[in-house]
C-alpha cells in the first residue's frame, strides 16, 4: 500500500463546537491513541474545533487497544458536548492540515451536520435470532416445510439430496420473510422515540435487524425502556444487543478526498 511514514502526524477523533473546550473549561483527561499517554487536544478554527492527538505515523493498526482508545476519547468528549465523529484510523499529516482542509474547507458542511445532530446521540440495536427457535418456528408455521422434512428420510439417497436443497431454499425464504416481519415490528416501536433510525445490511443470515437510532439525549431513557420491553417480549426467541450512547457516526454524510 503506502510506505509507512515515520513522521509524527495528527490523529483526528472528531469535530466539536469549540466553546466547551476552550480556556476556562477543564482539559480532556483521557489519553490519546497509542498507549503513550499522548494528550488529547483541540485544533481550533472560529467556533469549531477538531479533537486530535499526536501519533507516530499515518497508519493506525486495527487492534483492540487502538479501537478502545478511539472509543474512550469520543465517549469522554460526548459527555461534555456534541461531536461529529471521524471513522477510526483517520490521520492527517499535521495540525495545519486539520485546520486548513478539514475545518476551513469543511466549515459549512460541518456546521450543518452539527446542527442536524444537535443534542442527539446514537444507539445501536442489533437483533439476532436464537437459532434453534428460529428453525423450530419455521417448521411449526409452514406445513410445506414440515411435509418435505418428513418425506426426505424416506427417499432414496439421490432424491433425498435434491429435495434437501429444495427444503433449504424454502427455509431460506421463510427466514427472510420472518426476519423482515420481525424487523418491521421492532422499527415500529423505535420510530416514535428516535429522531431517525437507519437500517444497515444484516451481517449474518440469522440476524433480524442491524439498526442505528439517532435519539435526543433527553429521550435516551425512554429508548432504554422500549428496547428492554422489546427484548423481554422476545426473550428466548431473539437476543438484543443495545449499545451506546455513541456520537452520531451513522447519521453523518461527509467525506474528504484523500490523495497520496
Amino acid at each position: 500500500m503506502h510506505s509507512t511514514s515515520s513522521q509524527p502526524a495528527t490523529y483526528v477523533y472528531g469535530v466539536v463546537p469549540a466553546e466547551p473546550f476552550q480556556t476556562g473549561h477543564p482539559p480532556l483527561r483521557v489519553p490519546g491513541i497509542g498507549g503513550h499517554g499522548d494528550p488529547v487536544r483541540t485544533v481550533v478554527l472560529r467556533d469549531l474545533a477538531a479533537v486530535v492527538s499526536d501519533v507516530p505515523g499515518l497508519r493506525v493498526d486495527l487492534r483492540r487497544e487502538n479501537l478502545l482508545d478511539h472509543q474512550r476519547v469520543l465517549e469522554e468528549v460526548l459527555h461534555r458536548s456534541d461531536v461529529l465523529p471521524f471513522s477510526f484510523g483517520t490521520v492527517a499529516t499535521n495540525d495545519e492540515e486539520v485546520r486548513e482542509v478539514l475545518l476551513h474547507d469543511g466549515y459549512d458542511m460541518l456546521c450543518e451536520q452539527l446542527a442536524y445532530t444537535r443534542g442527539c446521540v446514537e444507539l445501536e440495536v442489533k437483533v439476532f435470532w436464537e437459532r434453534e427457535r428460529l428453525f423450530a418456528e419455521i417448521a411449526e408455521e409452514s406445513e410445506d416445510i414440515r411435509a418435505l422434512r418428513d418425506r426426505i428420510p424416506l427417499l432414496p439417497a439421490d432424491e433425498a439430496a435434491a429435495e434437501s436443497i429444495t427444503l433449504g431454499q424454502l427455509t431460506e425464504r421463510e427466514i427472510e420473510l420472518k426476519s423482515e416481519w420481525e424487523a418491521d415490528a421492532v422499527l415500529d416501536a423505535l420510530d416514535p422515540i428516535a429522531v431517525d433510525v437507519l437500517v444497515s445490511p444484516k451481517l449474518s443470515d440469522t440476524m433480524v435487524l442491524n439498526a442505528a437510532c439517532l435519539v435526543e439525549r433527553v429521550r435516551e431513557p425512554e429508548l432504554d425502556v422500549v428496547v428492554a420491553a422489546l427484548a423481554e417480549e422476545r426473550s428466548g426467541r431473539m437476543v438484543f444487543h443495545y449499545v451506546g450512547p455513541l456520537p452520531p457516526y451513522s447519521f453523518i454524510n461527509l467525506a474528504f478526498e484523500a490523495r497520496g
Binding site: M1, R63, D105, L254
Partner: protein
C-alpha cells in the same frame, strides 16, 4: 493517506455515467470483499457472545479477536488497493524509471557505456 486535498461534497444525487460503469466493473471484486468483511464483523460479534457466555477463556478470546481484526485489516487494505491500484502502478513506473536513469548516470560517470535498456513493462 494523510495528504488531504479537498472536500468532497455529499450527498450526491446520482452517479456520473462513466463512473458508474467503473463501479460495475469493480463490483464483483468489491462484492466479494464486502461480503467477507460483513462476515468478519458477524464473527467478531459471535466471538464476543461466546466469550460473554463463558464458552471462551479471556486468552482464547483475545487471540481469536486479534486474528479476526487482522483479517479485517487486510481486507480493508485490499479494498483500498482495488481503488488505488492504477495510481500505485503509475507511481511505481515513475520510481523505476527514475532509478533506471540514476543507474545510467552512475555507469556513465564510471566510464562504462550506458546500457541500452528497455522499459520493463
Amino acid at each position: 493517506m494523510g495528504l488531504v486535498t479537498g472536500l468532497l461534497l455529499l450527498p450526491i444525487t446520482g452517479p456520473v455515467h462513466g463512473f458508474r460503469l467503473f463501479l460495475e466493473r469493480l463490483r464483483d471484486e468489491a462484492e466479494a470483499v464486502l461480503h467477507d468483511e460483513g462476515r468478519a464483523f458477524a464473527e467478531l460479534i459471535d466471538l464476543s457472545m461466546r466469550h460473554d457466555a463463558g464458552q471462551l477463556s479471556d486468552a482464547e478470546f483475545s487471540a481469536q479477536e486479534a486474528e479476526l481484526l487482522e483479517r479485517l485489516s487486510s481486507m480493508r487494505d485490499y479494498r483500498e488497493d482495488l481503488l488505488h491500484g492504477d495510481r500505485d502502478e503509475d507511481d511505481r513506473d515513475e520510481d523505476e524509471r527514475d532509478e533506471d536513469e540514476r543507474e545510467e548516470d552512475e555507469r556513465e560517470l564510471a566510464g562504462a557505456e550506458p546500457d541500452a535498456h528497455e522499459d520493463s513493462r
